[in-house]
Symmetry: C2
Subunit: 414 residues, 2 copies
């Protein structure tokens, strides 16, 4: 078996996936959930192997934790499959339609992409997550997971394939190219004839590599250097909880706050209060020259801090002279994920909404709301920080393309 | 001036373009139309230079014709600008919106991409076309035209910039990188920091190069190996005009018919009649073994013919055993542009619509209807044959991305 054959099998099975009815796809998802539940011991054996290798290779505690599955996590995976099963099926939805003057009936409908490629790091839950999102949206998928989880992924893949088969769908609709090692990833990035779209999931570095090397169209999901600007007119009683929620509620995720910009007119009033709360939550502050004096135990921020996604209990703070300087700072350092203004001035709110070039722009709200679940999409494929195809939180419909259906009775063009 | 500076200027002007109101953009388009009309002599002088060089370099008659502008063509260009001026502005259109349970107001609105790159061949009309589509959709644009038209393009660019300036918009919103030669195209394809999307327009080879070399996201507009399948149950009185219209009405364009597939049960009845009409229209037929006998003066088709976009009065014809063989042929050779079935059998019509993986799939209609104008989009940016972002005819709204606006009153996440 070589990798091209694997890609061909995925492609060949994509038609059956595209034509599968919602109920057959849901049946496959239910079978997969059951396979995962019945396969707990098998999964744990494979996972133990990966963990033993990881420890032998001296990988970090946090990577070990990302690789690790236990009975509870496996049951949570099965339940997540059932959540996706409950979501509405986007395939076949009508996007636009019209009757032309000549009587032609023209309709734009959602269709699956065909084959989705995914390159991700050593997190076995992503294997189940992407596979089930692909199945629900009528796609086949080719997966390339991090090698540190390869034994776990191999078992998860075979359970997923077994679930597909039991529902009468082609097992090869979900394929792994893990066995081909690094070459598998390279071939996947060049497989324009077999793969319709590639979604990298993981670190900024992984995503950067895929964007640079791939000839298959990529949906970039992204890193978030997320900003809040506290305007002169902000309601400071509202500002404190929003800032704290944005920073500490879940600091490891991409919609968490990384840089706080504060209007100089409110800095003296806001920052000492904020400093107390940040300290109580064990947040390390990287402060600009002006703010450092107002924040005890803060570290002096460097140029690098403004461009850093900490993913942890660290926060950069900068005092600015006003909205314009805030907009300039955001234009320079934002990764175009999420930025929020806290203001009671309607003109400044509208200017911020219009001028900040990010996927999600907010007024008086926590940046943690940039999330497929919060937006009501049910599932979260990722947060796109690119402008092509999908921008912001992606749901199942972002895993589809469209096709135009034209029905005539003999029309010809004049 | 180096190329990075040009790209930076385009990027810097994109915010003003994004914020410009519809009436200011329309004013700029009107000024540009007037500049073109007043600049006829200047344009003709530049164009004469290009034509003299082209003749000295021995370029083909058809390329000379594509480069050539005369007074009539320039006035047509100005009129085309006014047509785009009349179209609705997509910027700011609300795509989706909802009020979340916590009271957050969430709205997805259309925004310009920012900077559009375009690489195209020696057709000066594309310069005006892309520039005005970009302006109307609130984008800046960086243009790289074919060097054989560089003198004409230089003058057109300066007239466009002058029109922008007269309407109070930044002249650099439309920039050319022609002066940097082939390096200009290479840099443009790598300019991820400055260019949001790249649209190649021209030959299949040009598009292939851009797709392979670009790290900027590309919208592939495409070549069309377009099929019609005449089913056993087709109304042959309808079939003849549809086939002839699809082939001969404008053979040089991408939605023209290239391969006709005929069910064996109707081949003997249809093909001799069709052969007469094709011969009357001077169409050369490349016929399969079975059809050759039924079509006098046909040439035997080779494997290569099935994959050829003739763009001329040539047609490949193949007799198939039925719908399944037709679907297999289309799956193998279609460029996923447009394919049409002629049938009175509703089951076969629905199967064809569901299984053919092309941007536009038709029943009982001429393939020539795949067109932004026919679909009512007003302007035609191109026909996308890729699945990401846009598929099929692209109008102005396909030159936009979206952004989520979230308006709160202090909400934080639980």
């Amino acid at each position: 078996m070589n990798i091209i054959n694997t890609l061909k099998l995925a492609k060949a099975s994509s038609l059956a996936m595209a034509l599968a009815t919602t109920s057959v796809k849901n049946e496959a998802l239910e079978k997969i959930a059951v396979e995962l539940e019945n396969g707990v011991q098998e999964i744990l054996r494979g996972n133990q192997l990966d963990l033993t290798n990881a420890i032998a290779n001296g990988v970090s505690q946090s990577l070990q934790d990302r690789i690790m599955l236990d009975e509870k996590r496996i049951h949570a995976l099965a339940e997540a499959v059932r959540v996706i099963k409950q979501l509405p099926d986007p395939v076949g939805d009508s996007v636009r339609g019209m009757k032309l003057q000549n009587g032609l009936n023209v309709q734009q409908v959602r269709v699956p992409f065909g084959v989705i490629g995914c390159i991700y790091e050593a997190r076995p839950n992503v294997t189940v997550d992407i596979a089930t999102l692909a199945i629900k949206s009528g796609n086949a998928a080719v997966l390339r997971g991090g090698s540190a989880a390869e034994n776990t992924n191999q078992i998860l893949n075979s359970l997923i394939q077994s679930g597909l088969k039991k529902a009468g769908l082609p097992a090869e609709a979900i394929c792994s190219v893990d066995e081909f090692g690094r070459e598998g990833a390279v071939e996947l990035m060049k497989a324009r004839d077999y793969v319709d779209v590639l979604i990298p999931r993981g670190s900024a570095n992984l995503i950067k590599t895929v964007v640079a090397e791939s000839t298959v169209p990529v949906i970039e999901t992204g890193s978030g250097v997320v900003h809040i600007f506290v305007d002169e007119s902000a309601d400071l009683n509202q500002a404190l909880p929003i800032i704290m929620n944005s920073k500490v509620q879940r600091p490891s995720v991409c919609n968490a706050l990384e840089t706080l910009l504060v209007h100089e007119a409110v800095a003296e009033q806001l920052l000492p209060l904020l400093a107390q709360e940040l300290e109580a939550s064990a947040v390390t502050v990287h402060a600009c020259e002006k703010s450092q004096a107002l924040i005890p135990r803060s570290i002096r921020a460097t140029e690098e801090d403004w461009a850093t996604e900490y993913h942890s209990l660290e926060l950069a703070i900068r005092v600015v002279t006003g909205l314009d300087e805030a907009l300039d700072h955001i234009a320079e350092y934002s990764t175009k994920h999420t930025d929020s203004i806290l203001t009671e001035d309607i003109g400044n709110a509208e200017k911020f909404l219009a001028e900040v070039d990010s996927a999600v722009v907010m007024v008086n709200a926590s940046t943690r709301f940039t999330d497929g679940g919060e937006f009501g999409f049910g599932a979260e494929v990722g947060i796109s920080t690119q402008k092509l195809h999908a921008r912001g939180p992606m749901g199942l419909s972002e895993l589809t393309s469209t096709k135009w259906l034209v029905r005539g009775r003999g029309q010809i063009r004049n």
